[in-house]
């Protein structure tokens, strides 16, 4: 008799503990595939706007929950401020990010995301906020000097990116390894298990400067542009974002942020490029 009483008591205690834990932790942020936190960054007061991003992807987004920084992060802060809203960033995995914003998991996506036709089947993009291209990243001193030199070699890229697509298109004879995160691909390069990485040029440049031991063999001008994505048909939010982006560009904030993260003046073209959501 005593034993069953005791076990019953233990069971109740355990159940109580479990429910406290669930209620205590479950209330807060949304859970995301990336598993990071959701945080409030700068921006104005007012209603929060949930923003998905694949973190880390330096120099566009990096840092720990509560402390995200990067070009995209600061630009979004500035844009949100113009909209009188506060961005709440959610770390999420890049390969599902467009589907997730299309399904309303968050309201917008800023994640060094190239505007492409395929993606536009699921989301709408803002006007471009960055002009980009791909780069071929190799180990310092490698004899790979161009994209073609990687033919027949092992090449890495990040899952779901335009870099991966480029690799698949141009390097039919190579073994192409998709990694879940951009930095994983760069690590594989440094470890020597792959001989080249096809990744966004600014990210490659950042790896050269911050990580060391790697160099850019060739830049592949793909004329791709990054945009902020919202769910298809969310024209109201899209218009607000476009308007705010224009204001940020006009009042010089864009230039300041750009120069901070890239040590370069922003190209004139970015201020005039527009994009019609389809």
């Amino acid at each position: 008799m005593r034993k069953t009483r005791l076990t019953a008591l233990f069971a109740v205690l355990l159940l109580a503990l479990a429910s406290v834990a669930v209620i205590g932790c479950g209330g807060g942020s949304d859970s995301t595939t990336g598993g990071g936190g959701s945080t409030e960054a700068g921006g104005g007061g007012g209603e929060p706007i949930t923003v998905g991003s694949d973190i880390p992807y330096p120099p566009f987004e990096q840092g720990k929950p509560g402390n995200y920084t990067g070009f995209d992060v600061e630009l979004m802060d500035a844009i949100a401020e113009k909209m009188d809203r506060t961005p709440e960033f959610q770390d999420t995995s890049f390969e599902t990010i467009f589907r997730d914003v299309a399904q309303g998991k968050f309201e917008a996506v800023i994640s060094a995301a190239t505007i492409t036709e395929e993606r536009e089947q699921a989301v709408d993009f803002s006007n471009p906020y960055y002009l980009s291209e791909q780069a071929v990243l190799v180990k310092e001193g490698s004899d790979v000097k161009s994209l073609e030199d990687l033919e027949g070699k092992t090449v890495a890229a990040q899952q779901g990116t335009t870099g991966l697509e480029l690799a698949k298109e141009e390097l039919g004879g190579s073994e192409i390894r998709p990694y879940p995160e951009g930095p994983d691909a760069v690590n594989a390069l440094k470890a020597g298990t792959v001989e080249g990485v096809i990744i966004d040029a600014p990210v490659a440049q950042n790896a050269v400067e911050k990580s060391g031991g790697v160099e850019i063999a060739e830049k592949v001008p793909t004329e791709e542009t990054y945009g902020i994505a919202v769910a298809q048909g969310d024209t109201e939010l899209l218009d607000e974002i476009n308007k705010a982006l224009k204001e940020v560009e006009d009042d010089g904030t864009y230039k300041t942020i750009y120069e901070k993260w890239f040590n370069l003046e922003p190209p004139k073209a970015i201020f005039t490029e527009t994009h019609e959501a389809e």
């Binding site: 390969e95 589907r99 470890a191």
Partner: protein, 247 residues
């Protein structure tokens, strides 16, 4: 509700990408085949070392127990990441071994073989041990008192009886192993999960992932049923009066 079906059961997408996902699944099967053989052997070695009697073998037994405990305790994912993230940097190992491309399989394949063998060797050692220890002690003592050495007693009396109790739990471990081959996706091995995630990224649709799951089901469900059949058969043997205990 129809959105649910579209997201997970879009048969057009499944049809379009069927051969890609199947090719990836064959990688899982290949990885499984290689690891299962190696792990069965490695596990047996571990189990036998663990059984070595006497004081002089105590350090070996201790090391084996530590190995088995640690490898069953650390998540397999962490072990795979440690292997693929660290070994390439160990420059004292020649490049052909450090970054292996043996038999046409890339290094992520071999890192996964190493990691999975290390871990499943430990699990299988425990299955062997349970089988050996389930044989009544009297059998071993009787064999020894008849003049057999430790080795002969194990080989002719204990192990043959232990062997009947091993298939069912061993098959369970092998089913786990097949499922765990999907962990190789994080070290960029082109297996079913990685391929289906790529398709997910391209199509914004999870149907390919369901397809991969179905492929595993096709193998693991019958295998699980087989385990039940084996257990039942062993129980039947016992009730008919054989001297072998139930699994």
């Amino acid at each position: 509700m129809s959105e649910f079906f579209h997201q997970y059961f879009d048969f057009t997408i499944m049809g379009d990408h069927f051969s890609e996902v199947l090719e990836g699944f064959f990688k899982n099967l290949l990885l499984f085949a290689v690891v299962v053989v190696l792990a069965l052997i490695w596990g047996l070695i571990l189990a036998l070392i663990r059984q070595l009697p006497g004081k002089k073998f105590a350090p070996l037994r201790f090391l084996t127990i530590v190995y088995i405990d640690v490898l069953r305790a650390i998540p397999i994912l962490i072990i795979l990441l440690l292997i693929s993230g660290g070994i390439p940097y160990l420059n004292f190992i020649p490049k052909d071994i450090r970054i292996p491309h043996w038999f046409g399989q890339p290094d992520p394949f071999w890192y996964s073989v190493l990691g999975l063998t290390m871990v499943y060797g430990a699990y299988m050692a425990e299955v062997y041990r349970a089988g050996i220890e389930a044989v009544p002690g009297g059998q071993f003592e009787a064999a020894r008192s008849l003049g057999m050495s430790h080795g002969k007693a194990m080989r002719h009396v204990v192990v043959p009886q232990a062997v009947t109790k091993i298939p069912a739990p061993m098959l369970n471990e092998m089913i786990s192993l097949l499922k765990d081959t999907t962990l190789a996706s994080v070290v960029a091995l082109g297996e079913a999960v990685l391929i289906s995630r790529e398709i997910l990224a391209e199509t914004f649709n999870s149907s390919a992932v369901i397809l991969a799951g179905v492929m595993f089901l096709v193998i693991t469900l019958p295998a699980a049923r087989l385990v039940d059949v084996l257990i039942k058969r062993n129980q039947a043997k016992v009730s008919r009066g054989a001297h072998i205990e139930v699994a």
